[in-house]
């Protein structure tokens, strides 16, 4: 049901001169059973309504029929009836009617078309229509709510994927660099070993020549010069200090790779459950390793980490919070700058402050940065979800986040998480 026309019941209206007694008779006819009231119309213009209740009170009073019965309805009717135009939407009409109707309800309302009488509308039908509408609305509301929930979790998922993608890119480069020289060095060491092994063989041959009773001077001479040549070739390709450096570089590279891998493991602990006893300084450190690729070329990081009590939290989520904040800080720094990360505890909370020397956040944006999809970054660079997810994670941990910023100077975010209550 969209508008009031569907409610309209075409009933022959009363003339203004019809007597009350006649109206009383009409109300008694079965065709009028359903009507609480009847409209009074002259030349198409609705003048009023007369209710069954009112007529009955008049006629049933003492000598009512005798005294009043012959009088015209116009003297008794309610001459400011409720009028609703036929093209009014249902909600609007019901709003108008519920505000203006008298209680108890003894009258229905008149439906007009261009000011002229069109029909009668029952209040009860209006309420039913309204209820139907409410039910369908509720249904679609529930539907869009569940759609919204689904797409929000998809968005969270895709944000996770996006930051995962960024992370993987960075980590791949971080690992491939040491892997590059480690691999190459090992190949070169193998080539060196091959040469040394051949050289060793030649030496052994030389020794057995020396030990043999019939010593062949000429063969020994050849052997000797062959060895000489090989030694020279070897030391031309592989200088001793270079070789030594090659091994220490290789070990260094392997150390780096295992550092990255163990930090990666720390960072992405997929344990969704809350884990107690987490030292947030560790989270800071492993996040910094993960973000290293982003940071190292433009930002100097200063760590000022205090001694912290353990905090009950989901470390993978806290890492995500830290990565979001650090990423934002790096993005805010246009050329080169500084990020300072400090941690401390006040006995109740652990606080992590991430302060950057970036471009700052204008006052008018400060209230919006935690909104989903609020971003000042170009399309493709920012989804605007980072801080809204950060906010949600911190709230889930019963913590809070505050921000302070000065345009042109920098921004500081402070994350505060409650310390685990002692069991």
């Amino acid at each position: 049901m969209e508008n009031i026309a569907e409610l309209s019941i075409a009933v022959e209206p009363l003339t203004s001169d019809i007597t009350i007694a006649d109206v009383g008779d009409l109300f008694l006819q079965p065709a009028y059973d359903r009507f609480l009231s009847l409209p009074v119309v002259r030349d198409g213009e609705p003048l009023g309504v007369i209710s069954r209740y009112h007529v009955q009170r008049i006629l049933m009073g003492r000598y009512g029929r005798e005294l009043q019965g012959a009088k015209a309805v116009k003297h008794f009717m309610n001459n400011s009836p409720l009028l609703v135009s036929v093209d009014r939407p249902v909600e609007e009409a019901s709003h108008h009617i519920t505000r203006n109707i008298a209680f108890p309800i003894t009258e229905d309302f008149i439906i007009t078309d261009g000011g002229n009488y069109h029909g009668v509308g029952f209040v009860i039908n209006l309420l039913r229509g309204l209820e139907d509408k409410l039910i369908t609305k509720n249904k679609s509301l529930a539907q869009s709510f569940s759609q919204l929930q689904a797409s929000q979790s998809q968005l969270v998922q895709s944000e996770k994927m996006a930051s995962l993608g960024q992370m993987v890119a960075g980590v791949a480069h971080e690992i491939n660099t040491p892997l590059g020289y480690v691999h190459n060095n090992v190949e070169m060491a193998r080539a060196a070993y091959d040469q040394l092994a051949t050289l060793n063989e030649k030496y052994e041959q030389l020794i057995s020549m020396l030990q043999s009773p019939d010593l062949d001077e000429r063969a020994m001479q050849t052997q000797f010069s062959e060895i000489q040549e090989m030694r020279e070739e070897f030391s031309n390709t592989f200088q001793h200090d270079e070789m030594r450096g090659l091994f220490s570089d290789t070990l260094y590279g392997l150390g780096q790779i295992s550092d990255i891998v163990s930090n990666l493991k720390n960072f992405s602990r997929l344990d969704q459950a809350m884990v107690s006893n987490i030292d947030l300084n560790q989270c800071v450190d492993s996040t910094l390793v993960i973000a290293n690729n982003l940071i190292k070329h433009k930002v100097e990081v200063i760590r000022d980490l205090g001694v912290l009590p353990k905090v009950r939290c989901a470390p993978s989520q806290i890492n995500q919070v830290l990565l979001n904040l650090i990423t934002n800080a790096v993005h805010a720094i246009e050329d080169r700058g500084r990020i300072m990360i400090s941690t401390f505890s006040d006995g109740q909370f652990v606080h992590i402050i991430i302060r950057d020397s970036g471009k700052g956040i204008p006052a008018e944006n400060l209230s919006k940065i935690f909104d989903p999809f609020f971003t000042t970054k170009p399309i493709g660079e920012g989804t605007g979800l980072g801080l809204s997810i950060t906010f949600k994670i911190i709230r889930d941990h019963q913590g809070y986040i505050r921000v302070k910023s000065r345009v042109g100077k920098g921004t500081a975010f402070c994350v505060s998480l409650p310390i685990a209550e002692q069991p």
Partner: protein
């Protein structure tokens, strides 16, 4: 910074006279990479290394370098930046990227701005990198003499462009752009299938081919790779919204595409691409040896042998005439 990593100079290596060996310049922000590469190449090349792109540019200004091999992600100057500036300072130096990971923008930049000869992944394989870098250096050595000859004046002729794309709108727009900016200079053909493209290739003289990666149901990559292998004088520009890093690397190493342009097509970009493509096509036509600079790796993973033989056949008939 060079000196820091240079090992103590030994008395001249007896095998070669240092001046005759090709010179390689490696740029990476990790010194250990430089040390490792220096050892790998020192026997056969004169090896220069630096961690700083600015320093690398100074070296290029100062002396002849045959191949420049650079990392992409570096603090002071990105690899693509370095290659772009190297192109201006020392256009004859072959440019290669050696990198652990590049985002797609960097790879596109290395094509369009860096005109990179090869893209090598870290970790590399010692034999492979020796072969690739050696090939690049040899090309630069052999061209060193030839490029000294003055360029002959090009005969004015109308040059052919083939667009391979399934969108009529793109074809119309491109025609409009070309008529607008270079009236009468180029002859534009449009093919919307691989088959049509082959037919044009067989019947027309083409200087530049502009192609999408997927046209209708045809995958154009084998075509693009094989084409460059057998027709190095045709310059390829890829115009697509397809974005995939490993495909791009293949298109560099096995396809030597001249430009990679994103869709939606932008007038200024495509016109500039055509212009520089034409200059390159002319250079290759007038100095065939120059095509060495765009030599491709033997294409791998080409399923459709039919295409290869058709393009190869074309090549034979072209070289006979």
């Amino acid at each position: 910074m060079i000196d820091m990593i240079t090992p103590p100079v030994k008395p001249a290596r007896p095998m070669q006279n240092a001046d005759l060996r090709p010179t390689l310049l490696f740029v990476d922000d990790e010194e250990r990479i430089l040390r490792s590469l220096r050892m790998l190449f020192a026997a056969n090349f004169r090896v220069l290394v630096t961690t700083d792109g600015h320093e690398a540019l100074e070296i290029l200004k100062r002396e002849k370098v045959h191949a420049l091999i650079s990392d992409q992600r570096m603090p002071l100057m990105s690899g693509v930046d370095l290659l772009r500036q190297a192109r201006d300072i020392a256009p004859d130096t072959m440019r290669l990227l050696l990198t652990g990971y590049s985002d797609i923008e960097a790879i596109i930049g290395s094509i369009n701005d860096g005109e990179v000869f090869r893209y090598i992944n870290k970790p590399w394989n010692a034999d492979e990198i020796r072969a690739i870098v050696g090939e690049a250096a040899n090309i630069a050595m052999s061209l060193g003499q030839m490029l000294a000859k003055p360029l002959e004046q090009s005969a004015k002729e109308i040059r052919g462009i083939l667009l391979v794309d399934d969108s009529a709108e793109i074809a119309n727009n491109l025609r409009e752009y070309i008529d607008d900016s270079f009236p009468g200079a180029f002859h534009l053909e449009w093919a919307n299938t691989l088959n049509d493209a082959m037919a044009f290739l067989e019947t027309r003289k083409l200087s530049v081919i502009i192609s999408d990666i997927n046209v209708g149901r045809d995958d154009m990559t084998p075509f693009i790779k094989t084409l460059k292998h057998f027709h190095p004088h045709i310059v390829t520009i890829v115009l697509t919204n397809f974005r995939d890093t490993s495909l791009l690397v293949e298109l560099i190493n096995q396809g030597q595409i001249h430009r990679f342009l994103p869709k939606p097509m932008r007038k200024s970009m495509v016109l500039r691409g055509i212009q520089s493509g034409m200059v390159l096509a002319d250079e290759i036509r007038l100095r065939p040896a120059a095509k060495q600079r765009h030599k491709v790796e033997t294409p791998k993973n080409i399923p459709d042998a039919g295409i290869i033989s058709r393009i190869r056949g074309l090549f034979r008939s072209a070289s006979k005439s």
